[in-house]
Symmetry: C2
Subunit: 204 residues, 2 copies
Amino acid sequence: MSRNKGKLYVISGPSGTGKGTICAEILKEIGNEFSVSMTTRSPRPGEVHGKEYYFVTKEEFEANIAAGGFLEYATVFDNYYGTPKEMVINRLERGYNVILDIDVQGGLNVKKAMPEAVLIFILPPSLEVLRSRLEGRGTESREDVEKRLGQAVNEIKLIGEYDYYIVNDVLEESVQTIKSIMLAEASRVPEAVKPIIKEYESQQ
Amino acid sequence: MSRNKGKLYVISGPSGTGKGTICAEILKEIGNEFSVSMTTRSPRPGEVHGKEYYFVTKEEFEANIAAGGFLEYATVFDNYYGTPKEMVINRLERGYNVILDIDVQGGLNVKKAMPEAVLIFILPPSLEVLRSRLEGRGTESREDVEKRLGQAVNEIKLIGEYDYYIVNDVLEESVQTIKSIMLAEASRVPEAVKPIIKEYESQQ
């Protein structure tokens, strides 16, 4: 049975929906299937090149952009962050799944570059819950919170481009749903079913 | 969040693949989401009208065929067996999933009548395993076994029309995969996403 190629999963959602916690939990449970991003920001103490990020210069990053080397990239506080295409494709070819934890716009860019990617959207139970999660961080002004809520609604408007959605109320349930999605996707009848049919025919 | 309507699942596969055992296990675990078929055969001792089957006369069954009342039906040993459309639709409308345990050709007929149905194909690990399962029944002649194997390959040729496939090697894993498929399908972003977006917009 040829189930050799891995699948690419994108997990996105507005800031504060708990996407990061979900991804960390999945990483713990199913092992390292996350790709390593490339960035131009400086490594923090303890961060290792090739583990948390590939740390590169602005010139190297921009050369990679010019060469079409990113599935998606974005600028945050004057630093670039991007997902190197080749690394993802290599992992998929070797039969591993790859999970990308990126923002909604980045997710759409990945879908454009690799239409076979599976996009999962993480929603908050309500805007009220999202508001109290953001306020609970204690790091953001009331104005910032309002801005993030407005941005959240704008991102939610793009949900139609996603394949699956999860309302992140109970962490364990959200993680279970993502694991189920991965198992279901691995059981999809592939576009090219001939290898499956041939395998049984040859046994006759 | 409007996740009100149930989904229709069809579980099919060649004779001897263990489809019946899988369905019985799911029935035990997730409750009665199976629809009751209609048949013209006589009830066996202990069988209850409306539980194992709806037992009807040939005339009633044929009137129902003429009225387009079946999602699919088939003739086995001079008796009709069919899935009443209205009953399935009623259950779905009330938000329940419905699982149909029917043969491959019946599954394709259901898909024609209700394209939103989710079709799951159960495969044997190999024809060799299927052969020994069929022989193990001890009820079929060598000729019958060969006939069934040939029929199995013919049915497998139709797998491209199905959405998911499961190689039924370990029962518990097959059951887990079907449960995962059901959870994943319930998490699909619906074609009409506007209700989701509106719900969050209205909370602003």
